[in-house]
Symmetry: none
Subunit: 207 residues, 4 copies
DNA sequence: AATGAATGAGCGTTCATTCAT
DNA sequence: TATGAATGAACGCTCATTCAT
């Protein structure tokens, strides 16, 4: 036994672990300083390794950023799978609202996503990763919506999912971590729930 | 006698004009390349002047960015003043939705605002300018909402303005310029209008 | 009456006054920041005039520095003329020691002279101005020394003046303003006086 | 097995050598041009390396200057240790005078020290390094003085060391390399020796 | 006598990347 | 795997100077 965790294959496992470490450290750095202060050197420093070594794991900055994104965004989807496992459709829907809106006030979410939105307008790799992630998110949401009101067509459910998810994302800028309206989170959730439920049940959604 | 004896920077018309030119060129550059590719040198190049001369007009990058922000954001507020000048409150409200959502699909809006949101998490000057701008925007919106349903208290109207404006902003990322759902703009407007009007007239808004 | 002071010839007198103002402001700036942080812009700012105007009075940085030096150094000589006017030679000598050593602890002296010494090694204009000033100073000192002990030849007196003035200057670095041994000033004066007087009266000075 | 597994910067002999080279080249440049003409670029050029590489060895100008200072000042202290190794106290004392005063006329000494004196008034790092160096120097001097005249208290010896070392330093400006009185060096030494010895043996030194 | 405008050079610093070891 | 060394480009900024007004 040469390390903390049981390594099936010594050096290979070690490399995989360190890659993960670096990705998490890098995400923190991005959140703390913004992409325009994000550099390979700073990541290496924060990760406690040398620049040369960092570039052994991630040969270019673009590749590191792509890996960070995949790592970070994928983790957000896991939560929905969990919610889908119990309760009525309406309960699930309300749980999603609760979960997502409450997440907005975490520093990670508040800072990370605007960074991604901005980058996605200029870096192709980011655009794709972000779109995929939101696509998956909306898919789950549309499924739930379809179950809440089975009278809706698949397209109508997708439109509602788009409107609802977009509406929620927009609050990041106002009720997120250290934003002027953070304390309004509970009231926003109250308004959001009734507004979205009314839309699902009684709204006039284009076919 | 043309006025004060002591002339200050920008007192020549030539200089004033060039300052405006630079601000517009700079905004375009920011939109085209993102803040992380935005440099004083590139602005100078794009404006057809020398770096040193650019820094005569804007002694620091921060000051240039601040001036850009004030310039850009103030122009958005002018539109609302216009809308307030005619029609019933409900017509004004719907006009705001129309105006703002349709604006999202312009390249300027789609790209400029996420850039500002991201920056606002890391640069104090930007945070302040952005917060002020949204505060003004919400104030106008709350006024209209209060007129649409006079039964609402001032606080309720402000909460609705927050929820509605945030919801709209969130669509930037999905139906903006060259975004996957750009073509859904009309449908989103249709959903938004009824959803927000229902909230204003019949919603249960926390007191 | 157009100004504060009676001006013989309006604009001419005004120009002369402002030149003096600038020179004093510039000296302060040099003392505060050191020559390597001394710039035309900062002088202009400190003097409350525009860069272009400063360069009307002093067309180049070198000329400003030269003028500053002449202005500053000449003022130091006036003090000696005063001392020569009364008392026995020995009293005059001791008064010089008192005056000069006590001067070392003033911020002006402590900071200004090392700046000049350093510059004099690299800028011809400064070398000359400094050498002239010290030459005049030593001349006065040698005269006094010759009167204190008339048995000394002129050359011996000059050698003593050199040794004594150099010895005193050296203390700038150690007992000057905010230096580690500032509080030793009185003791240093005590040691200096007896040491130098012994040298003058009984020393074996090369012929 | 060559030692630790984790190598640090400068662990290759190649890098160590180059660091020393740079320090010497930098000192020469400082002496030749003065601090106000001393730049990282010029050091890199003089050392025959690229700017980026220089800043790999010395990440900031301040760190380079500090390293230069430590390098230069430490070499001065070695000389005293040597002198202490033989001869009577009086012989050692006279050897110090000889050594130090003669050193003044070397270009290195004449130019380097005024540069340091000037800098020490504006840069904290320099102040500290310089004060430490002189403190060490005075300590050795005080020890010798105490041995020359054991009747002196430790405090008296330190006061004498201060007066004597300051007096000698002051001559840098007048009898140093290419200074007007360089040829007087021998005479100055003659005067200094008798003057200082008299002070040590018969002076009235404050207790 | 004074300001506004503009230039070109230089500065310290950060950075992504490459390569030898 | 990992470090040390090196490069070349770019960045924000300061500056002395020139010139038109």
């Amino acid at each position: 036994m040469t390390g903390k965790k049981q390594a099936k294959q010594g050096s290979y496992q070690k490399g995989k672990d360190k890659r993960q470490d670096v990705l998490e450290v890098a995400a923190e750095l991005l959140i703390e300083s913004g992409y325009h202060n994000f550099s390979m050197r700073k990541v290496a420093d924060a990760a406690g390794i040398r620049l040369g070594n960092l570039q052994y794991y991630f040969p270019s900055k673009a590749k590191l950023v792509k890996a960070m994104l995949d790592h970070a965004l994928s983790s957000y989807l896991d939560a929905f799978v969990e919610i889908r496992r119990q309760g009525t459709p309406e309960e699930q829907f309300l749980a999603v609202i609760d979960k997502v809106v409450n997440d907005l006030s975490k520093k990670r979410t508040t800072v990370f996503f605007p960074e991604v939105w901005s980058l996605s307008n200029h870096e192709k790799g980011v655009t794709q990763a972000m779109d995929e992630m939101y696509e998956n998110y909306r898919k789950v949401l549309a499924d739930i919506i379809g179950e809440v009101n089975p009278a809706l067509s698949a397209l109508q459910a997708r439109r509602l999912a788009l409107f609802i998810s977009a509406s929620i994302e927009g609050h990041t800028i106002f009720i997120g971590y250290r934003k002027p309206w953070t304390k309004e989170t509970a009231n926003i959730i109250h308004i959001a729930k009734q507004s979205f439920l009314w839309l699902i049940m009684q709204g006039d959604i284009p076919e």
